[in-house]
């Protein structure tokens, strides 16, 4: 078992190499599922281990990349679970929903899969950084998969910001490694760090999490990517930032610093920011992207709370539960958008209603309706957070919940408009058995979302799903009321371009580019002018080259020679006479 971990993330890379084989390239899609098998095997086996709760199993390859180690403990086990579920669903759906450039899609899919598996299991900073950058850069391939202008623009912004984030993270990780003297993450959490190092680390990961002003790539990338890819982007990759914070930043000593306070308020701000701009979107996937940003607000807030606890380990379990909840629901919602677009399926009345039923369940779960995973997790978090030191007024949290609910209602409305027009009999989209099978896997996901909280509480043996408070119900109700009111009064529907502040960035970029271009052009003109002068001066000098022959003839005249003779003789005599 010990030696399994290393192979889990190497296996997808091996499969990617197989892609070089031409005949495999044509049927690349099944390979995606093949790549997930060892990971599932490890996840399954890990369940059986008794010491999973207490200790952890790790593996070290000293020769590998500056000596890397991996570990599997309770936390990483749950993250692994989340990753596997979402990636498997994405793999299944890409069988159906991705048709063009399958080989290239598969290559990038496998690379980013191995990256995400690696950073989940990483126990040393270098492996985490390797996993993180491998995932984020190969995800770029998924974002620009469609090749349309919108996808290219999204890809460009995604890459620029991912690169900046990744390099800042590199600087942070190197400085932190130098500061702590080791690269094993477990030892990092107890060593206090210099401010700028922590800021570098935080900034590197914040870009991936989508903190306001750094989030501009998210609303562009998610809609541009094919549906399964955006499910993974939202479900797994966005979590990498938060979990990265937890792994890299020194959790145990954070309590003394101002970080928790900052994180709490940032979390709340992100919730509202995501919601407000989300409402202004008309495209369902962009709306979902904004909702992910706002949900991330919860996680940021949660981290702020976790850091204040004496033993952050326990708090983290709840956070990973929330992450699991958000991953499943958001992945499901993104896939649902895919299904709604799948007109062939919609043609079947039975399937159509079932899909809409699933969408409804997921939306409500996210909105936090009682008895659903959303409400359970949120209320549990709020209850736990009360006894922490710094705290954020609970009304704000409630408003956050309301915002999410509003978003969900808006999403359903937008989705209905999208699906509303009659399902035209799309020519070639025949309803194959495979699509049905994949659809059922989506339905299974919806079921999992419902069942999961009950199973989790019984497994942990603490807390229970029905928290008894009506706050969740109240928020959903008020959300419905507000939307109905809005519609009735026909208030204007504000429209904001996806990536809101992005427009400002672009204007800034264009302006800087114009200024630079102008200066560059004048510099080149000056250079050309100097070159012309030099050539002119050269030819002038050549013309009067006879200068040297004139001097030479003058020098060889006898009067000059004799004068030279006498001069040198007298000079010598003088010089000797002077000193002696």
């Amino acid at each position: 078992m010990q030696h399994m971990i290393g192979w889990v993330w190497l296996w997808p890379l091996g499969v990617a190499v197989l892609l070089a084989w031409p005949l495999l390239r044509r049927r690349a899609m099944p390979l995606l599922l093949l790549a997930l098998l060892p990971a599932w095997a490890l996840w399954g086996l890990a369940w059986g281990l008794p010491d999973l709760a207490m200790g952890k199993i790790d593996q070290a390859w000293s020769f590998w990349l500056l000596g890397s180690q991996w570990r599997l403990d309770a936390l990483s086990h749950s993250w692994l679970g989340l990753t596997l579920v979402v990636w498997t669903l994405a793999a299944l759906h890409s069988l159906v929903m991705v048709s063009a450039h399958q080989a290239r899609y598969a290559l990038f899919f496998l690379l980013s899969l191995s990256g995400s598996l690696l950073w989940v299991l990483a126990a040393d900073a270098v492996s985490f950084y390797l996993g993180f950058s491998l995932m984020s850069l190969s995800a770029w391939g998924l974002v620009i998969h469609e090749g349309s202008r919108k996808a290219q623009r999204a890809g460009r912004w995604y890459l620029v910001l991912a690169l900046i984030g990744e390099l800042t993270l590199f600087v942070g990780v190197v400085a932190r490694a130098a500061e702590t003297g080791t690269t094993t993450l477990s030892e990092w959490s107890s060593v206090p760090g210099a401010d700028w190092v922590l800021i570098c680390l935080w900034l590197g990961l914040a870009i991936k999490v989508g903190v306001p002003l750094l989030h501009v790539w998210l609303p562009l990338a998610h809609p541009a990517a094919p549906v399964p890819a955006s499910a993974v982007l939202s479900g797994v990759m966005i979590k990498a930032g938060v979990i990265g914070w937890w792994l890299l930043l020194p959790g145990e000593v954070m309590a003394q610093t101002a970080w928790p306070e900052f994180m709490l308020w940032l979390g709340v701000l992100t919730m509202f920011y995501g919601a407000v701009f989300g409402l202004m979107q008309s495209d369902p996937k962009t709306l979902l992207a904004y909702s992910s940003i706002s949900q991330m607000g919860w996680l940021i807030w949660g981290l702020g709370w976790v850091w204040q606890m004496g033993t952050p380990e326990a708090g983290m379990l709840w956070l990973s539960a929330f992450a699991l909840h958000h991953g499943l629901v958001k992945g499901g919602l993104f896939l649902s958008v895919g299904w709604v677009k799948q007109s062939a399926l919609m043609a079947q009345p039975g399937l159509r209603t079932a899909t809409w039923m699933g969408v409804g369940v997921l939306a409500l779960a996210l909105a936090g309706l009682p008895l659903t995973s959303g409400d359970w997790v949120k209320t549990a978090l709020k209850a736990e957070a009360d006894n922490a030191g710094a705290v954020v007024p609970s009304t704000l949290l409630w408003l956050g919940g309301l915002a999410t609910a509003l978003l969900m209602v808006r999403f359903v409305a937008v989705l209905r408009d999208l699906g509303g027009h009659k399902p035209t009999a799309a020519g070639n989209q025949t309803l194959t058995g495979m699509t049905i099978g994949v659809w059922f896997s989506w339905i299974a996901l919806v079921g999992l979302v419902l069942v999961w909280p009950w199973w989790q509480t019984s497994h942990w043996g603490t807390g229970h799903v029905w928290s008894g408070s009506v706050q969740g119900l109240a928020s959903v109700a008020t959300a419905l009321l507000l939307v109905w009111l809005w519609r009735r009064l026909r208030w204007p529907e504000w429209e904001a371009p996806p990536g809101d502040v992005l427009v400002g960035y672009q204007w800034l970029g264009a302006h800087a580019h114009r200024v630079f271009k102008q200066r560059h052009r004048s510099w080149r003109a000056r250079k050309r002018l100097a070159a012309r002068h030099w050539r002119h001066w050269q030819t002038a000098r050549l013309l009067k080259s006879h200068w040297r022959t004139r001097w030479e003839t003058r020098l060889s005249q006898w009067s000059v020679v004799t004068a030279g003779l006498m001069l040198v003789a007298l000079g010598l005599v003088a010089s000797v006479w002077v000193t002696v």
């Binding site: 006898w558 009067s559 004799t562 004068a563 006498m566």
Partner: protein, 93 residues
């Protein structure tokens, strides 16, 4: 006393030779100037020899050698001049 006069005469010859060399426009004049100068140097040597009664034989021997060297140099110079004159005449017509 007479020694001083002759050494002045010798130096005079040398300086006139040098002047001749500087102002000469024709190869022959330059050769003449050099021979004048060599006569002056030999005279200087002989005045050195004649400073004390038994005239010193070594400078006289040197002068003899010098004269032969001077005449051979002159002969070579003239041969070159003749060759030069012939070649220029040839190149003109």
């Amino acid at each position: 006393m007479s020694g001083l006069i002759y050494s002045l005469c010798a130096l005079g010859l040398v300086m006139i030779g040098l002047y001749g060399l500087a102002r000469a426009h024709h190869g022959l004049q330059q050769l003449l100037a050099i021979n004048v100068m060599s006569a002056g140097v030999f005279m200087l040597l002989l005045t050195m020899a004649a400073r004390h009664p038994p005239a010193d034989a070594v400078p006289q021997a040197l002068v003899l050698t010098g004269i032969v060297v001077a005449i051979s140099a002159l002969a070579l110079g003239l041969a070159l001049l003749r060759r030069l004159a012939a070649e220029e005449a040839e190149s003109h017509d």
